[in-house]
């Protein structure tokens, strides 16, 4: 009989965090954190950077309720690590789009978004959605969800490394 494996995912209310065990190094150099712990200590829709490599970042977002409307000059991606969220899209009017095509990271849409409705997706654990460049998007989550954003560091990105990373 085949062995029945149990795949262990984490959740906002059920996770087991690992650790750095130093031998001869500074543990801060490993920037060790956990997305569920970060989400548990975040306000809804704070974009908390937990990975960065030059201009690129991975952010943890606690999705809860309706988010503001965002837009971005480049593609972004949203991966659910726990919970469900809808993401609604509008083909944003040119006047509301990011004017600087090189601008990095998401920004808030300055007023109610105008433009044709593109549609929406509903993602659950393990699902990844594309947030296409130039579109406006809004998250809607009835219960808290943990979203990982693949994007660039922008004006809404929050860095609090000393709070989220193992330091000793």
């Amino acid at each position: 009989m085949a062995h029945a494996y149990k795949t262990r995912f984490g959740a906002l209310d059920d996770y087991d965090k690992g650790r750095v065990e130093p031998v001869d190094d500074d543990v801060r150099h490993y920037a060790f954190s956990n997305c569920f712990e970060i989400a548990n200590n975040s306000q809804p829709y704070e974009k908390v950077v937990f990975g960065q490599n030059q201009e690129y970042v991975l952010e943890v977002v606690r999705a809860e309720g309706d988010s503001p409307w965002y837009t971005c000059a480049h593609d972004e991606f949203a991966l659910s690590m726990d919970g469900e969220a809808e993401i609604h899209f509008i083909d944003l009017d040119a006047s509301q789009r990011v004017q600087d095509k090189e601008k990095e990271g998401a920004i808030l849409v300055s007023a109610e978004p105008k433009g044709p409705v593109m549609g929406w997706v509903k993602i659950g654990r393990g699902h990844q959605a594309m947030l296409p460049a130039g579109a406006a998007y809004q998250f809607r989550a009835q219960s808290p969800a943990v979203i990982i954003m693949q994007t660039c560091k922008g004006e809404l990105s929050i860095e609090r490394w000393a709070d989220i990373c193992q330091s000793a």
Binding site: A2, H3, Y5, K6, T7, R8, F9, G10, Y15, D16, K17, G18, R19, V20, E21, V23, D24, D25, R28, H29, Y30, A31, F32, S33, N34, C35, E37, F50, G51, Q52, N53, Q54, Y56, L58, H74, D75, F89, P116, V117, M118, G119, W120, V121, K122, I123, R125, G126, H127, Q128, A129, M130, P132, A135, I148, Q150, T151, C152, W161, A162, C165
Partner: protein
């Protein structure tokens, strides 16, 4: 030349390579002309060689073990023995030679093709492949010439990397039989079908047929999501030339981290579902995955980063705090 076990012998610069039924042997001359040799288990050697070939020598150092490996300079490649082993370097018995990438690639590809027997798949987990041992017994070209799966924008978009299915020869792996195969709801208005898009990344990964071999699933400029499924031991000890980030998406991996130049131990990193960790650019690392797990390797493929590394401008640590 074919030896008594049926395998070809190879040479590259001052290095010699032979295999027998159980082992691969590497020989070279030291700086003062003494003969030196090193022996690796044939399975371990072929698993490491497979990654080095498949990844185009990857970023930085691909250590096959504590003695031999390669360093990618992105037009040329160093092949070394003992050059990044503290004791061997101090003893002066190391060797390092630089080769044009095409030259070393051709020799490594030929070696991999000849030394991999019909029953052995160096990409597979040890429980999912036959034995690497014994005299020469055919080959396994389909297994060792798999194309890397690289999305240009996102998996599942029209014209981009396709989703994995039973029909495409990608059944759910035995260790991920409990991973839900559901799909996200997609409600695209007419004309927006290729922009309103989502897919089940975990289901995609549950159908991976290889271990320790990242694919690209989503791309933001030069930021590449490179998730992979891991089981048993990372067949190489990777010494990156840049900071590398790991995000553990399920189950766990234990990492040994050591100094890149000497192999002196630095830390252990125990990663469980939801954990994020960076590997500083001064370390080499090797992972152990007790159960098949999903790891997101997050890479920065910016072409300017190579110049930053050469000039010393690239940071060795992920963040300062």
């Amino acid at each position: 030349m074919t030896n008594s076990h049926g395998y070809q012998d190879f040479t590259l610069g001052g290095f010699g390579f032979t295999r027998d039924e159980y082992f691969c042997h590497i020989t070279w001359q030291t700086h003062d002309g003494r003969p030196m040799s090193h022996t690796m288990d044939a399975g371990n050697y072929l698993r490491a060689l497979m990654r080095d070939v498949a990844w185009g020598f990857f970023y930085g150092w691909v250590n096959f073990d504590d003695v031999i490996g390669t360093v990618n300079h992105y037009a040329t490649v160093d092949l070394f023995a003992g050059a990044y082993n503290g004791a061997m370097k101090t003893a002066g018995i190391d060797r390092l030679e630089n080769f044009p990438t095409d030259d070393i690639r051709q020799v490594f590809e030929a070696m991999l093709a000849d030394w991999t027997n019909a029953d052995f798949d160096p990409f597979a987990a040890p429980q999912e492949t036959g034995s690497p041992y014994g005299p020469k017994n055919g080959d396994n070209m389909p297994a060792i010439t798999r194309a890397r799966e690289l999305a240009r924008r996102c998996v599942g978009l029209e014209g981009d990397l396709a989703l994995r299915t039973d029909e495409s020869g990608a059944p759910v792996n035995r260790a991920f039989a409990d991973v839900p195969q559901d799909k996200p709801e997609i409600h695209a208005e007419p004309g927006y079908e290729n922009q309103v898009h989502a897919f089940n990344l975990f289901a995609f990964l549950s159908r991976s047929q290889v271990t320790w071999n990242p694919s690209f699933t989503s791309v933001v400029k030069n930021s590449f999501m490179c998730p992979t499924t891991e089981e048993h031991i990372l067949p190489i000890i990777h010494g990156n030339d840049r900071v590398e980030w790991f995000f553990q998406m399920c189950d766990e991996i234990h990492w040994d981290c050591a100094h890149k130049d000497t192999g002196e131990p630095l830390a252990r990193v125990i990663m469980k579902a939801g954990d994020m960790a960076a590997m500083p650019a001064y370390c080499r690392h090797q992972g152990y995955s007790p159960k098949r797990s999903m790891l997101l390797v997050w890479e920065n493929g910016s072409p300017t980063l190579v110049d930053d590394i050469k000039s010393g401008a690239a940071p060795e640590v992920p963040v300062e705090f």
